[in-house]
């Protein structure tokens, strides 16, 4: 197994220094090249889980291994793409994409060529000399994707990457990332709270629920790509997930009665 998550829990101290459990005994195996969506309402710990795998935070108990090695620190073998892009505003598109290559002992011309290729891949060739503040949100996120791909990572983590985009741009970006995933065969772990987005993108959807954060169910999406958002199979899975969340509502009502 490529990524193994064994009995992982995570606690944070709250303002009174009491431990609050954000994630409780998470078990999960992810294969290389898989597209995984972590889906759930806010507060279910999906971003925390992502940060743990990415090595930005440490587990309280349990262990996470990538390729057999403990995931304890960030590395350019796995790159995170954030909702607010994380582009460096003082660098042009070209220079932003070159960022990760600068620490990799590559010659200047090679950096330029590689960055150029990926800028072209995300369709921003004529914007290479622009600065982030001159681009729309969707274009900025494309730059972030190009920058991540340029260092040829094994895993790409995406933390609600399209959350700040308008609906149309969002759909375009979903198509785009789906295409890129098919071309490049990276393992992608994608956090979202948008059910349709998850069904469109994922091989497997991990439905998470809060208090404490845990994986409620794992839903496979055995639909060939490119997926049709209006196809009955698509809608069936979408409805199934809706039901998952619906059930939680019922539980809550019973509890209050």
């Amino acid at each position: 197994m490529f990524i193994q998550i064994k009995n992982v829990s995570k606690e944070y101290p709250d303002t009174n220094n009491n431990a609050v459990q954000v994630l409780k005994s998470i078990d999960l195996d992810i294969e290389a090249g898989e597209f995984i969506c972590l889906l759930g309402p806010s507060g279910c710990g999906k971003t925390t889980l992502l940060n743990l795998i990415a090595g930005f935070e440490k587990v309280t108990s349990g262990e996470i291994t990538i390729n057999g090695k403990l995931a304890v620190e960030a590395s350019s073998k796995h790159i995170t793409i954030f909702q607010n892009y994380g582009l460096l505003p003082w660098r042009s598109v070209q220079k932003n994409v070159e960022l990760g290559l600068e620490t990799k002992d590559r010659s200047k011309s090679e950096r330029k060529r590689i960055a150029g290729d990926f800028i072209e891949l995300v369709g921003l060739k004529q914007y290479a000399r622009h600065y982030p503040s001159q681009l729309s949100g969707g274009m900025q996120q494309r730059v972030a994707i190009a920058r991540a791909l340029a260092v040829d990572p094994e895993i790409i983590f995406m933390d609600e990457p399209f959350g700040a985009l308008d609906a149309m741009t969002r759909i375009n970006m979903q198509d785009e990332i789906s295409n890129i995933w098919q071309k490049k065969k990276k393992t992608i772990i994608f956090v979202t709270h948008d059910i349709e987005e998850a069904v469109f993108l994922a091989d497997r959807i991990l439905v998470m629920s809060p208090n404490p954060g845990r994986i409620k169910s794992v839903i496979k999406v055995p639909i060939a790509r490119k997926r049709d958002r209006t196809h009955p199979d698509f809608l069936k899975i979408r409805n199934k997930i809706f039901e998952e969340f619906e059930m939680k509502e019922k539980e809550k009502i019973e509890y209050y009665l």
Binding site: A54, F56, E73, A74, S75, S76, H78, I79, T80, F82, N84, G86, L88, P89, W90, R91, L99, G100, E102, T103, Y131, P132, S133, V151
Partner: protein, 257 residues
Amino acid sequence: MTKIKNLIYVAAGLAILVILWEAVVLTGRYEASLLPSPLDVLKAAVQLIKNGTLFSDIKVSLYRFIIGYSSAVTLAVILGLVLGRLTRTWKIIDPIVQVLRPVSPIAWFPFIVLWFGIGDMPAIVIIFIAAFYPVLLSTISAVKKVDEIYLKVARDFGIRKTNLLTRIIFPASFPYIANGLHIALGSAWVFLVAGEMVGAQSGLGYLIIDARNSLRSDMVLAGIIFIGISGLLLDRAIRFFEKRVEKRWGIVSREGI
């Protein structure tokens, strides 16, 4: 359109000032040596320009200013970048800085003369002291304010140590540092004149002392006006630079400052 309007305001303000001034002079209650008339001051100014004194004094003052200011900025920014990251070391140094900072650079004058002699050095050192603290403190607070996401991106791409400082932290904090440079420029210019009044035989500050010694109050006022104008021009120049930085960094500039 607004530019022309603003210009009218400026002209109106100046006109009112000159009219009031002339009116007070016309009452005849003050001798010309106590309050020279606007026309006398204008004549003195023309004389200073024509005989070349003004030009050579400005040149000397600017030379001292640039040396003192730029060396203070260089040292303070480098120290600030490092100390901003070394939280514990800064906690040790901070109290010392807090005690020294409110001391007027002029208070150091006896030591400055002993250590650096006379000539250009006292003025340069005083400018250095005046510019150093504001730049140091604004750099440190700028480093502490650097958005977490840039640090995450840097970790992801394996950017560490010196590279982290030069490629990420310095540029990320640069807009705030530029703001500190702006503030420091103003206070340093104030002390340039003070520095030249006590330790120099040339420069704009000396121009005033010299005029006073020959009881030329019209020339004193002309000198004051030149100091004000050159300070204003310097301020505009650095403000222009600051705006450019903010624009490039994508910071929405605050109006009316």
